[in-house]
C-alpha cells in the first residue's frame, strides 16, 4: 500500500520562533530555506499575530503560499540539549528558488536526526572500533589514538605514499569550505599525500580539465543567463531532475516566454523571442518532456545521439558554424589565442588529441561534415544543421545569437571526456558566448562546491589511479572521508572483492589481541598490513557500505548541525547556520581532521621525530569558524572580504564568488566570470582545442559494445538525487524506489518475458548487479537506463575500469546483458509503473 503519513495537522510556527539561514545541502543549486525552531511546549496560532508567517491560517492558503509547509518540513530535534519543534521551509526571498522546494530539500527536516520522532536513527552517534569481532562504541580519544598510531607506523615504514585517502572535495552536506580545508591542510599541508582520490572517481583530478586548460572555469555564468539566452544547449544533463529549481525557476520562464521583459530591460538593443532549447541525450528524459510542454515542440530540439558520440556532433557543429560565417570574429580575435601564441598539449604524450591552440588550428584539426556526423551520431543532417542555426545564426536584426551551453555527467562521465569537453568549449568560444549575458559554458554540477586546500600539484597529472592501486595491494592505511566506493565507483565488484580480503586480514589480526593492549594491537595490525592487509578508517554521518570493511568509524556532523559554507552552480556563497545539535558525539569534519592532526603530532613527538611532529602544528581550531578563518578567509581568492558575520547578514542570497571588495557593509561579488575578456590562462587568452573524433576512447569499450546487446546507460533520479544516503531511512522514498529502476523498452521487455517490477540481473565481464524493470515506451530498443549509485543494486558493478588519459571514469558507455532473476517482490507490488512524463 502506498505510503501515507496520516498527519492531519501540524504545529504552527509561533511569531517569535528563532529563524536561521539554511541552504539546501543536497544538490548544486543550493536553494534557500529558513529553519524555524521553538520550544517544545509552545505553539503558534492561526491569527496573523500568532504565527511567524503573519497570515490568517484559519483560511485556505493559495498556491505557492509561503504560509504552508508539508509534514516532511517538520520535525522535533535537539537544540542545546533540549527538544524543540523545527520547520525547514523554502525561502521565498531567495533569488535561486523563489520559494520552490524540491522533493529532496523539502525533506530536510524529516531527514534530520530525531530521537523523538525516530527519524534518521541510522546516524552515527559515537566513534566505533572493531573490538572483539564486532563494532563497539568508544571515545574520541581512544579512536583517534588508534588511528594516529597505526597511521604513523605506516608512514614510518612506507612513507606518506603508504597512506591512501579518499576524500570528498565538495560543498553541501558532508562538505563545505570548512571540510575541504580541514582535510586539505592535513593531507596536503602537514603531509604531501599523493595516493588520494575524490568521492565519485578513482583519482584526484578535475572532471573538466579541458575547460580549465582552455582558460574557462566551469562555473562561469549566473543562473539569470538561462532567462536571457536565445538558445540553451543542454548536453548530457537532465536538469528537471538534477538541478530542479534552477530549471523550474530560471529555464522554464525563458521557454514560456515570460522572461522577455527581463531580456528587453537588460538587452534593449536587439530582437527577443521566447527561448529555444537543444537537448543532447540518447534518452528522452522528463526534462525533454517538460521543455516541450512549455516551449512547444517546434522550439525544442532533442538530439537523441548514439551513446558516446557527442564529440562528433560538436565538431560538425563547429565546422558548420565556421563555414556559414556565424562566428564571433571580434571575440576570437581579441580574447582567444592567435597563431603566434603558444600552444601546448593537454593530454600526456599527445600532440594531436587535446592540443590547446588557436581557432584556425582547431577548426582544421576538427573538421567534420554534417553527413559524417550524421553517420556517427545516428542523427539526421537537417537536425544537426538546425542545431547550428539555433546556436549561432544571427538573429533577424543581425544581432549575435546568445547561446548558453550547459553540460553534466552525460558528457563528463562519457566517452573521451577531455576532448568532448574541449569541443563544447570550442563552440562557446567561437560564438562569443562566455562572459556575456545569456551565455556561458558551464557544467550544471552535482553537489554544491566548497574547495579551498593547500597546493595539490604534488599529486601529479595524471594523478594516481587509487582504486587500481588498492586492488593491486598497495597502501597500508586508508582514510575515507564522506565516500562510499562500494556504491559509487567503477569496476566495483572487483574492488569490493579485494578490499574485503585486505581489510578482513586486519580484522582477523585485531581479533587475536586484547583491545586494551594498545602496543600489541598496533603491532598486530601492522603485521597484517605487511602481509597485504589494509587498515581502514571511515569518517561519515551514516553507516556506509565500505564502512562495513573498516576498522574505525568516526561520526561526523552534517549541515545544520554545524555552521557550514558552500557555493552553488553560479558561485553563490552562503552560510548555513547551525540550527540543531549533532547526534551524540558527532563532530564537524574539520575538527575531526584537526584532532587527528593533534594526535599524529603527539605520536610523532613521542617517537622522538620532532621534525615530523612539527608539521602537524596549526590545528588548534575549536570551532568550524576557526577552520573557516584559517582556510577560506586566509587562502581563497577574495577570502579576505568574507567572514561568518558578513555572510549571515547576506542571508540565503549571499554573494557570487569571487568576492572583490567590501563596500557599504556588503560583500561585493562577481556576477559572471570573464566579463572583461581576460581568461584563466597565463596570457589571459582563451585556447581552442584540437579534438578530432577517435571513436570510443577508453580501453575495452568498443569490444564491450560489440559483444553485448544492451547499452546500460545510467544516471540519477529526482527523488534521490544527492540524498540517497539519507533516503535509505526515509519511508516516502523507499516506498517508491525499494530497488533501482532500469528503464526498458516494451519490445525488449516482451522479448525477455519481463513484467513490471520484475528483478533482472544485469551482467557482463566486469560483474553483475540487479535492478527493477520499469516499462518505458519512449526507451529505444537495446538501450536500458539504470539508476546509478543506489544501495540496493550497484550499477558500478558492471562498469569496466576503463578511464581516460586523466583517470576520469566512463560510466555511461557500459554494455551488458539482461535476464530475469525474480518476479516482482512484495515491496514492489504496490508500485506504480505508469509513465513519469507529465501529460494533459
Amino acid at each position: 500500500m502506498t505510503y501515507k503519513r496520516q498527519i492531519d495537522r501540524l504545529p504552527i510556527i509561533p511569531a517569535d520562533a528563532k529563524e536561521h539561514n539554511v541552504v539546501c545541502h543536497y544538490c548544486i543549486v543550493g536553494c534557500g530555506y529558513k529553519a524555524y525552531t521553538w520550544d517544545i511546549n509552545r505553539q503558534g496560532g492561526t491569527d496573523p499575530s500568532e504565527n511567524a508567517m503573519g497570515e490568517d491560517l484559519s483560511q485556505q492558503q493559495y498556491a505557492e503560499s509561503p504560509a504552508w509547509y508539508a509534514p516532511s518540513m517538520y520535525n522535533i530535534v535537539k537544540q542545546n540539549g533540549r527538544d524543540v519543534h523545527m520547520v525547514v521551509k523554502p525561502d521565498h526571498d531567495c533569488v535561486v528558488n523563489s520559494g520552490l522546494g524540491s522533493p529532496r530539500g523539502a525533506r530536510i527536516a524529516e531527514m534530520s536526526y530525531s530521537q523523538a520522532r525516530n527519524t534518521q536513527q541510522q546516524r552515527l552517534t559515537d566513534p566505533l572500533v572493531w573490538r572483539y569481532g564486532q563494532y563497539q562504541p568508544t571515545s574520541w580519544e581512544d579512536a583517534l589514538d588508534l588511528v594516529a598510531r597505526v597511521t604513523a607506523r605506516v608512514i614510518q615504514e612506507q612513507g606518506e605514499d603508504g597512506l591512501f585517502v579518499s576524500s570528498a572535495d565538495h560543498g553541501g552536506a558532508g562538505g563545505g569550505y570548512e571540510f575541504t580545508w580541514g582535510t586539505g591542510k592535513l593531507y596536503f599541508g602537514a603531509m604531501k599525500v599523493k595516493n588520494i582520490r575524490i568521492h565519485n572517481r578513482p583519482a584526484y583530478n578535475s572532471e573538466v580539465h579541458a575547460s580549465r586548460d582552455m582558460g574557462v572555469a566551469e562555473l562561469n555564468n549566473c543562473y539569470e543567463d538561462a532567462e536571457l539566452a536565445d538558445t540553451i544547449m543542454c548536453v548530457g544533463a537532465n536538469p528537471l531532475e538534477t538541478q530542479t529549481n534552477y530549471f523550474l525557476n530560471h529555464w522554464v520562464p525563458n521557454l514560456r516566454g515570460s522572461s522577455i521583459g527581463k531580456k528587453e530591460e537588460q538587452l534593449p538593443d536587439e530582437a527577443h523571442a521566447p527561448g529555444r532549447i537543444i537537448i543532447v541525450d540518447p534518452r528522452r528524459t522528463v526534462t525533454t518532456n517538460a521543455c516541450e510542454m512549455e516551449a512547444g515542440s517546434d522550439r525544442v530540439l532533442h538530439l537523441a545521439i548514439n551513446s558516446g558520440t557527442d564529440l562528433a556532433l560538436f565538431n560538425a557543429l563547429f565546422t558548420h558554424i565556421a563555414d556559414q560565417g556565424w562566428l564571433d570574429q571580434d571575440f576570437i580575435e581579441h580574447f582567444t589565442a592567435q597563431a603566434s601564441d603558444s600552444g601546448r598539449s593537454g593530454l600526456p604524450d599527445d600532440q594531436v588529441h587535446g592540443y590547446l591552440t588557436d581557432f584556425q588550428a582547431a577548426i582544421e584539426a576538427n573538421r567534420m561534415s554534417l553527413e559524417e556526423a550524421a553517420e556517427i551520431t545516428g542523427l539526421e543532417v537537417p537536425d544537426i544543421e538546425k542545431a547550428a542555426r539555433w546556436i549561432a545564426e544571427p538573429k533577424e536584426d543581425g544581432a549575435r545569437r546568445r547561446c548558453m551551453f550547459a553540460y553534466e555527467k552525460g558528457l563528463i562521465w562519457g566517452n573521451d571526456n577531455y576532448q568532448t569537453n574541449g569541443a563544447l568549449v570550442n563552440l562557446a568560444l567561437a560564438t562569443g558566448n562566455v562572459g556575456r549575458e545569456g551565455g556561458g559554458c558551464v557544467r550544471l554540477g552535482g553537489h554544491q562546491e566548497g574547495y579551498v586546500r593547500p597546493d595539490e600539484s604534488h599529486v601529479g597529472r595524471p594523478s594516481a589511479y587509487v582504486d587500481r592501486l588498492l586492488i593491486e595491494g598497495s597502501g597500508g592505511v586508508h582514510h575515507i572521508w564522506g565516500c562510499d566506493h562500494y556504491k559509487t565507483t567503477l569496476n566495483s565488484m572487483e574492488f569490493k572483492r579485494v578490499y574485503k580480503q585486505r581489510t578482513d586480514k586486519v580484522k582477523d589480526a585485531m581479533n587475536r589481541v586484547p583491545y586494551g593492549d594498545r602496543e600489541a594491537m598496533v603491532d598486530a595490525i601492522v603485521e597484517a598490513i605487511n602481509d597485504g592487509g589494509l587498515f581502514a578508517v571511515d569518517v561519515d554521518i551514516v553507516p556506509t557500505r565500505i564502512g562495513e570493511a573498516c576498522h574505525v568509524i568516526l561520526p561526523a556532523a552534517t549541515s545544520g548541525e554545524i555552521n557550514l559554507t558552500s557555493m552553488n552552480g553560479e558561485r553563490r556563497m552562503r552560510l548555513t547556520e547551525r540550527y540543531m545539535d549533532p547526534p551524540g558525539q558527532a563532530m564537524a569534519d574539520c575538527l575531526i581532521a584537526a584532532r587527528l592532526a593533534n594526535n599524529l603530532e603527539q605520536v610523532f613527538r613521542e617517537a622522538g621525530d620532532e621534525a615530523t611532529a612539527d608539521k602537524f602544528q596549526g590545528f588548534d581550531w575549536q570551532t568550524e569558524e576557526d577552520a573557516f578563518m584559517d582556510g577560506y578567509h586566509a587562502n581563497a581568492n577574495g577570502g579576505e572580504h568574507v567572514t561568518y558575520d558578513r555572510l549571515r547578514e547576506l542571508g540565503t542570497n549571499g554573494f557570487q564568488e569571487p568576492a572583490v571588495s567590501f563596500e557599504d557593509g556588503q560583500i561585493v561579488g562577481t556576477k559572471r566570470l570573464y566579463a572583461d575578456g581576460t581568461f584563466g590562462t597565463e596570457d589571459g587568452k582563451a585556447r581552442f582545442m584540437q579534438s578530432p573524433w577517435r571513436g570510443l576512447q577508453a580501453a575495452g569499450k568498443q569490444d564491450e559494445k560489440d559483444r553485448y546487446p544492451f547499452l546500460i546507460n545510467n544516471g540519477r533520479a529526482n527523488l534521490v538525487w544527492q540524498s540517497a544516503y539519507l533516503d535509505v531511512d526515509n519511508e516516502f522514498v523507499m516506498d517508491r524506489w525499494p530497488y533501482p529502476f532500469i528503464e526498458m523498452s516494451l519490445e525488449d521487455m516482451d522479448e525477455l518475458g519481463l513484467g513490471n517490477g520484475d528483478l533482472v540481473e544485469v551482467w557482463n565481464d566486469n560483474g553483475a548487479t540487479q535492478a527493477m524493470v520499469y516499462p518505458t515506451p519512449t526507451a529505444r530498443k537495446g538501450e536500458a537506463f539504470m539508476l546509478f549509485g543506489y544501495p540496493t543494486g550497484i550499477q558500478g558493478n558492471v562498469t569496466s575500469d576503463g578511464v581516460n588519459e586523466l583517470i576520469i571514469p566512463n560510466y555511461k558507455q557500459t554494455w551488458g546483458n539482461i535476464r530475469k532473476i525474480s518476479d516482482a517482490p512484495e515491496a514492489v507490488r504496490n508500485l506504480s509503473f505508469k509513465s513519469k512524463e507529465y501529460s494533459v
Binding site: K4, D8, P48, S58, Q60, Y62, L100, P103, K834, V840
Partner: protein, 173 residues
C-alpha cells in the same frame, strides 16, 4: 483546467479578504480561552461525514468534481472499473482524492488515457490506481486520498483524508 485556474484565483481573493474573518475569530478566542483550548484538545481533527455523491452518479474513468472536507478543498471521485487500494463500492473501484497538488498547491487535472493526475505547476504525476502514489514529481507526499464509505443506498460519504491537504495546517479549518 478552467476550474483549476479559478480555484487559484479564488484562493488568492479569499486570502486577501480573510483578515476580517480572522479578526472576528481572534476576538472570540480572547474572550473564551479555556473553551478554545478544550475544543482543540483532541489528538486528531474531527472529520465531517459528508455525502459527496451516489454510486449511480459515477461513470467509469470520468472524474466527478467534489470538495472535502469543505468547499475550499477541491477533489474528485473516480470510478476506475477494477478493485484498487482504498476503493469502495460494490467493485471496490471508487476512490476520491484531493486535487490540490501537495507540492505547491496547483490544481491537478485528470488524464483519462494515462489514468493519472497531472500537475501543470511542476509536472508531477500521481496514480489514482495506486492510492495516489506520486509516479514522478516534486511533492514530498503522495496525493491525499479520501477515506470513503458507501451505504446501502449507494450514497458515497467521505469521512477522512490520509495526508495533509495543501494550503492548510489543519485538514479541518
Amino acid at each position: 483546467m478552467r476550474r483549476c485556474s479559478k480555484l487559484v484565483e479564488m484562493g488568492r481573493r479569499q486570502f486577501l479578504s480573510g483578515s476580517a474573518v480572522a479578526a472576528a475569530t481572534a476576538a472570540g478566542a480572547s474572550i473564551m480561552p479555556a473553551e478554545a483550548k478544550a475544543a482543540n484538545g483532541q489528538a486528531r481533527v474531527n472529520y465531517p461525514s459528508n455525502r459527496l455523491a451516489n454510486v449511480e452518479d459515477l461513470s467509469e474513468n470520468e472524474p466527478l468534481n467534489v470538495a472535502y472536507p469543505d468547499d475550499q478543498a477541491p477533489g474528485v471521485l473516480l470510478k476506475l472499473g477494477q478493485s484498487v487500494p482504498g476503493g469502495v463500492g460494490p467493485d471496490e473501484d471508487i476512490v476520491g482524492f484531493c486535487t490540490l497538488c501537495p507540492h505547491q498547491g496547483y490544481p491537478v487535472s485528470y488524464n483519462t488515457e494515462a489514468r493519472t493526475f497531472n500537475c501543470p505547476g511542476h509536472y508531477s504525476v500521481f496514480d489514482p490506481e495506486q492510492a495516489g502514489s506520486q509516479v514522478w514529481g516534486q511533492a514530498t507526499q503522495n496525493l491525499p486520498q479520501y477515506i470513503l464509505r458507501v451505504d446501502e443506498d449507494g450514497e458515497i460519504y467521505a469521512e477522512g483524508v490520509d495526508e495533509l491537504i495543501y494550503g492548510r495546517l489543519s485538514n479541518v479549518l
